[in-house]
């Protein structure tokens, strides 16, 4: 391939819902969100690895990360750069607040139209919203084919990619024409770790709005080194239809949220009597632990 192949990884910064340890719960038994670390969505790391493998295979390629979120989501882009990505795009603005998956995928698809990559790689699912809907919805909005549950990139060549994907019971290998959207499963290869040299090189990378808060010396430092500049798009930069953004552009509305109440860790002793077992099962059902 003569032309540079441009690969974009969609990655989301998420609260670490998997490690809801005892301190992450308030005394009332609700989730203490402030105590949850913001992390790189785990399957998006698998996606990054697959994109880097594509780049390794093709040679003449770049890997860029696209993330939509608040300013601090630029951390995800830096982390990806430490592990091998060439750079990234932060899509940020209050217009995007309250997006459901459809509004999220609309916003991401506007940015992707502007970037115009040859391949888009996403994680299967984000661990906070847990829907796995954004990848396919982006593909539909861009009119591109999709390959979900990708487990292994078998080959990539002129105009097509060969992917082994996971099925409910088993697997299948498909050939998809490019451009296409690939969503990557946690069973795919783990992401390569940070590379010490890359950490040194990219640790001062900043998005446009982060740069604005720096002093002139720091600004000049980054301006001399374009690879440290994380491109930042505001809503207006990606030419969206404002009606399709954020809360207004979201057909689904959250009507009510209940916190699942966890019990304090102090064993309640029960006997094998019918009434003890029945009340236990009732409690487990009522707390949504069962059913």
């Amino acid at each position: 391939m003569e032309k540079v192949t441009r690969i974009v990884v969609m990655a989301k910064q998420v609260p670490d819902t998997r490690n809801v340890g005892k301190d992450a719960m308030t005394p009332e038994g609700t989730v203490n969100r402030a105590a949850l670390a913001a992390i790189f969505n785990p399957e998006d790391l698998n996606a990054l690895e697959m994109a880097l493998q594509m780049k390794d295979r093709i040679g003449n390629a770049t890997v860029q990360v696209l993330t939509m979120g608040p300013q601090r989501a630029a951390d995800v882009i830096r982390e990806a750069m430490f592990r091998g990505a060439d750079g990234g795009y932060l899509l940020s603005g209050k217009e995007f607040a309250g997006s459901d998956t459809l509004a999220t995928s609309y916003a991401l698809s506007c940015a992707l139209r502007k970037i115009n990559p040859d391949i888009i790689v996403a994680g299967r699912q984000a661990i906070d919203g847990d829907t796995a809907q954004v990848g396919p919805q982006v593909a539909e909005k861009l009119g591109l084919p999709q390959v979900t549950y990708a487990e292994e990139m078998v080959d990539i060549k002129e105009g097509e990619v060969i992917i082994k994907r996971r099925l409910e019971r088993g697997s299948e290998t498909v050939v998809a024409p490019l451009p296409a959207v690939i969503t990557v499963n946690s069973s795919a290869k783990e992401c390569r770790p940070r590379n010490a040299k890359r950490v040194m090189k990219f640790k001062y990378a900043l998005a446009t709005s982060e740069m604005a808060a720096e002093n002139d010396k720091a600004k000049a430092f980054i301006e001399e080194r374009p690879y440290l500049h994380i491109v930042e798009f505001a809503a207006a930069d990606v030419n969206p239809d404002p009606e399709q953004l954020g809360l207004a552009g979201s057909p689904t509305k959250v009507k009510k949220i209940e916190n699942v109440v966890f019990q304090a860790k102090e064993a309640k002793s029960l006997t094998a009597d019918d009434k003890d077992i029945e009340s236990l099962m009732q409690e487990l059902i009522a707390s949504h632990t069962l059913g």
């Binding site: 459809l102 847990d130 539909e140 409910e168 088993g170 009507k255 077992i277 099962m281 949504h288």
Partner: protein, 339 residues
């Protein structure tokens, strides 16, 4: 118009359980709304499944039959579903939250610009008043789902866009045959007008289906048996409880060493580490090498004849009793109290 749609998933000429469960739920919703329940089957040689779908309440069975529809591929199924929804304008469309449903339902929703709620655990009809506009709706679909890693339960509505779309996991809802089957009238989908050549862009070059694998890591409920279960026979009880609760079976090393169950099920330091929502330890003493693999569970219930068993120190509920007595009671009272 305005009916309830259920997408029927077919694998190896068999209807997926989740599709029958959705028909049962769909029947209930259609009755509440006073509309019809319509099943949509996209596959190859699928017409003869109509009587089975009628037993679970389908008034209409829409079929699209061709080789291109089997095995499942995203684009042809999306085009047919989108085309049929545009033509028939259902108010609700339900899909299994299976790899197939989760692959193409989002595309359908994206094409129709209609909201989609993932992994619902409950669906009911209710009223709604929009906080901002003050507009009132008398029969919306409440789509109830866990999110945030299972730490919250959200009720989601879709006031303006149709259809209201949702996916539901297998085993969450019950399936029930009707005493008298519904009409199950077969209607052909004019799919040739809906599918285009570009829908065939992705080619399947190899495919193989494995025997059902043990999936303990992904299970949100684990029923684990230890040496105290006593025998291979006794482990059948453990399996039965796991099945009823929709969970997987795990084991201690002593149970594996004694040959009660497979090695893949071993949990602990030299087995797998799990973090389910619920861990029921049956006849497990709770040595550190075992608990290292499961103490991150959100809730732990222990069943042990010894009230001083170490497992009880990390348990939320410690039942003093034998596995043989307690498990059948759990099954009985779960069945009595769950819908």
């Amino acid at each position: 118009m305005n009916n309830v749609f259920v997408y029927i998933e077919i694998e190896d000429r068999e209807i997926a359980d989740v599709s029958l469960e959705l028909l049962t739920k769909g029947r209930e919703l259609a009755n509440t709304l006073g509309v019809k329940l319509e099943a949509v089957v996209i596959g190859n040689n699928v017409k003869d499944l109509a009587p089975e779908l009628a037993k679970y309440g389908a008034d209409t069975v829409w079929v699209a039959e061709d080789e291109m529809f089997s095995p499942f591929r995203t684009l042809p199924h999306t085009s047919v579903m989108v085309g049929l929804i545009k033509q028939e304008q259902p108010q609700i469309a339900l899909f299994g939250a299976t790899p197939v449903g989760r692959d193409f339902a989002p595309r359908v929703s994206s094409a129709l610009h209609s909201g989609l709620t993932a992994d619902c655990t409950e669906l009911v009809i209710g009223e709604h008043k929009d906080a901002k506009s003050g507009k009132e709706y008398d029969s919306l679909l409440y789509q109830i789902r866990p999110a945030f890693g299972g730490n919250i339960i959200a009720t989601i509505v879709n006031p303006e866009c149709r259809p209201q779309m949702a996916t539901v996991r297998e085993g969450v809802m019950r399936k029930e045959e009707l005493a008298v089957p519904a009409a199950g009238e077969v209607r052909e989908i004019k799919w040739k007008e809906m599918v285009s050549d570009t829908d065939l862009a992705v080619r399947i070059v190899e495919r193989h289906i494995e025997e059902r694998k043990i999936n303990i890591k992904g299970a949100s409920i684990i029923v684990a048996g230890g040496y105290g279960v006593g025998s291979k026979e006794g482990f059948k009880l453990v399996h039965e409880l796991a099945e009823v609760l929709g969970g997987e079976v795990g084991a201690s090393r002593a149970a594996v060493d004694a040959g009660f169950t497979e090695h893949e099920r071993q949990i602990g330091q030299t087995g797998i580490t799990v973090r389910p929502k619920l861990y029921i330890a049956c006849g497990i003493s709770g040595q550190i090498q075992h608990t290292a693999g499961m103490d991150g569970s959100a809730m732990i219930v222990s069943i042990n004849t010894d009230p001083a068993a170490p497992i009880n120190k990390i348990a939320d509920y410690a039942i003093t009793g034998s596995v043989e007595e307690v498990i059948p009671k759990m099954i009985k009272y779960y069945k009595q109290n769950s819908k």
